[in-house]
Amino acid sequence: MPAFIELKGVEKTYRPYRQVPVEALRGIDLTIEKGEMIAITGVSGSGKSTLLHILGFIDLPTDGEVFFDKPISKKMTDRAMAKLRNKKIGFIMQDFALIPYRTAYENIELPLIFSQVPRKERRKRIDAVCEQLGIVELSRRKVSQMSGGQKQRVAIARALINDPEVILADEPTGALDRKTKLETLELIQRIHNEGKTVVIVTHDPEVANLADRRLVIEDGQITEEKTKAI
């Protein structure tokens, strides 16, 4: 039986206009099982975010095969990628990826709007997720008026709102103080314990230690793989 997510010989080369091409990923082979938590580490520019973008259908590989429940075409349309991002994946980003002049409610609502969930149902689901993450009192507040920890909770609420199978987190604690970092990690751990597949890109060994498996990327290649001792 094939794995839940599988990458075979994935390559990604950026070709900036009038500049030397950059090989961000070089022959990545990776298998992710359902419910697994993986940390991807590496120095800046090693290709870990690019790998996350390919796993999250933000970008397509230049070469290689991607399997996500089913084989993914290399010439996938913008719309098909959007549908997968909307239904299957929740993102937690270092800069939170929230619209600052909108309220928490409006930010969390976005994936539901794009999946055409009726207004009443949207309200019900947003109330439930806010309750679950303890941000009910924040829901009508504008993101620009929130602290870093509050923003990250809103971002996590948005990542969870469509009940995706995979959560992709890119340096989720990079912009947070220690206390908020620990709270955020606790939340991510809770999400993982509820059965979600989680992939975290991080520099932080403390964050990486949470994962079942830790991958190290150097120059666009996976150079090391460590599995957590049970």
């Binding site: 800046s44 520019g45 975010s49 973008h53 933000i58 970008d59 349309t77 913008d78 719309r79 990628m81 959007a82 549908k83 991002r85 909307n86 239904k87 993102f91 980003m93 270092q94 800069d95 990826a97 929230l98 619209i99 600052p100 002049y101 909108r102 409006e106 930010n107 976005l110 994936p111 709007i113 794009f114 999946s115 055409q116 207004r119 948005r158 469509n162 890119d170 340096e171």
Partner: protein
């Protein structure tokens, strides 16, 4: 996959540029319609005249105001070799209890060829008598087929207390309510006066009294001269000049049209200036607004993209309020213009409507939208949104 609620939020977010765009599109539509209507109205009569074969004719406008002398002038011109026919125009006043009507006789061959488009009804048969075609505004009082008892007034009987009565039949209504003025051309009216719009005058065919005798109207001192086939217009004009008493008032059709264009030059250039400046302002606003939106709201677009919509759709969602603003501005401009139907807008341009005006102005507005937005749209959707998620 865009949503109505997001669209409204976008509209409110961009409210200032949306409002400005509505105002400028409104102005473009108004001035565009004015230019199109103005050009149509200004060229309307010359186009009809050319269709009726007036280009081959000469015109003489007698400057001496004596009715008897006109007949003599006409016969002098008729005697010149190369002249086939001399037609003198006639007018009269008809009135009933409801309203009065100025009409021009269109019984002469040159004028019978002149067919103004009708809003309703049809031109009468050649044998039918006492037929009139009225300006559009008279639809308020009559309908096609109405037979009306009217009093007939001309220069001879206007001092009387009782006027001869005739029964006229309404054969149709003019679509544009404008006819050739056919009044004498002179220093007072300008040489282009022949084509100036006459908006309250109807057309009469074969007016006769109860015994079948023609009703003589007021002779107008404007002669339409038809040359014989193959006659040289210039030499004929010179010959006519030698016999008539107002020697400076013999003109070819081309000369009159040229004078008419000269007299309208200022208005036409003013229309164009106003339309071009409005268009430039709206275009600049749209161009700069689109650029600024795409720069300042990249973050928002990246969040939409991450939340599950396509990149092209994210860009479209940002640009849709601009399209809506343009449509609202256009429809408001159209409605405002339509509301003034039949009234004088400015510089004797009477508001009227044709589908062609709507198509042309809509084309201009859409062109402005495409020129102001499409280049940015294409460039943006071709750029990969991945750039927006880079941390370094």
């Amino acid at each position: 996959m865009s949503s109505g609620s997001l669209l409204f939020k976008n509209l409110f977010r961009d409210w200032f540029s949306v409002l400005m765009l509505i105002v400028f599109t409104f102005s473009i539509t108004e001035s565009g319609l004015l230019v199109v209507r103005g050009i149509d109205q200004i060229t309307y009569l010359t186009r009809l005249c050319e269709k009726a074969g007036m280009e081959d004719k000469l015109f003489y406008s007698d400057q001496v105001d004596d009715g008897l002398g006109l007949a003599k002038q006409a016969s002098l011109i008729e005697d010149i070799s190369g002249v086939s026919e001399v037609e003198v125009t006639e007018t009269c006043l008809l009135f009933c209890k409801k309203v009065e009507m100025n009409v021009i006789y269109y019984d002469t061959p040159a004028l019978q060829n002149l067919k103004y488009p009708l809003a309703e009804g049809a031109y009468p048969d050649a044998e039918a008598t006492n037929q009139v075609i009225l300006p559009y505004a008279y639809k308020l009082f009559f309908k096609v087929g109405d037979e009306i008892d009217v009093s007939f007034v001309n220069d001879e009987n206007w001092r009387d207390t009782v006027y001869p009565s005739i029964t006229i039949r309404v054969s149709g209504f003019l679509m544009d309510s404008t006819t050739l003025s056919l009044s004498p051309i002179g220093a007072r009216t300008g040489l282009g006066g022949l084509f100036s719009a006459q908006t309250d005058t109807g057309i009469a065919y074969r007016l006769v009294d109860s015994s079948g005798q023609p009703m003589q109207g007021n002779l107008q001192s404007l002669f339409i001269i038809t040359p014989e086939d193959g006659a040289d217009l210039q030499s004929l004009k010179e010959k006519i000049t030698t016999v008539v008493r107002s020697k400076s008032y013999v003109f070819s059709y081309r000369e009159l049209v040229t004078e008419y264009w000269k007299s309208n030059d200022r208005i036409v250039s003013m229309f164009f200036t106003s339309a071009v400046s409005n268009l430039s302002l709206a275009f600049a606003l749209l161009f700069a607004g689109t650029y600024l939106s795409l720069i300042s709201r990249r973050k928002e677009m990246s969040v939409w993209y991450l939340s599950g919509t396509g990149w092209a759709n994210s860009v479209r969602m940002l640009l849709t309020p601009k399209l809506l603003a343009i449509i609202v501005g256009y429809l408001t401009g159209l409605f405002q213009f339509y509301r003034q139907f039949g009234t004088e807008y400015t510089y004797q341009i009477y508001v009227n409507f044709r589908w062609s005006y709507i198509f042309i102005t809509f084309g201009i507005v859409i062109f402005m939208f495409l020129a102001g937005v499409l280049p940015f749209y294409i460039v943006t959707i071709r750029k990969s949104p991945v750039e927006l998620f880079r941390k370094d």
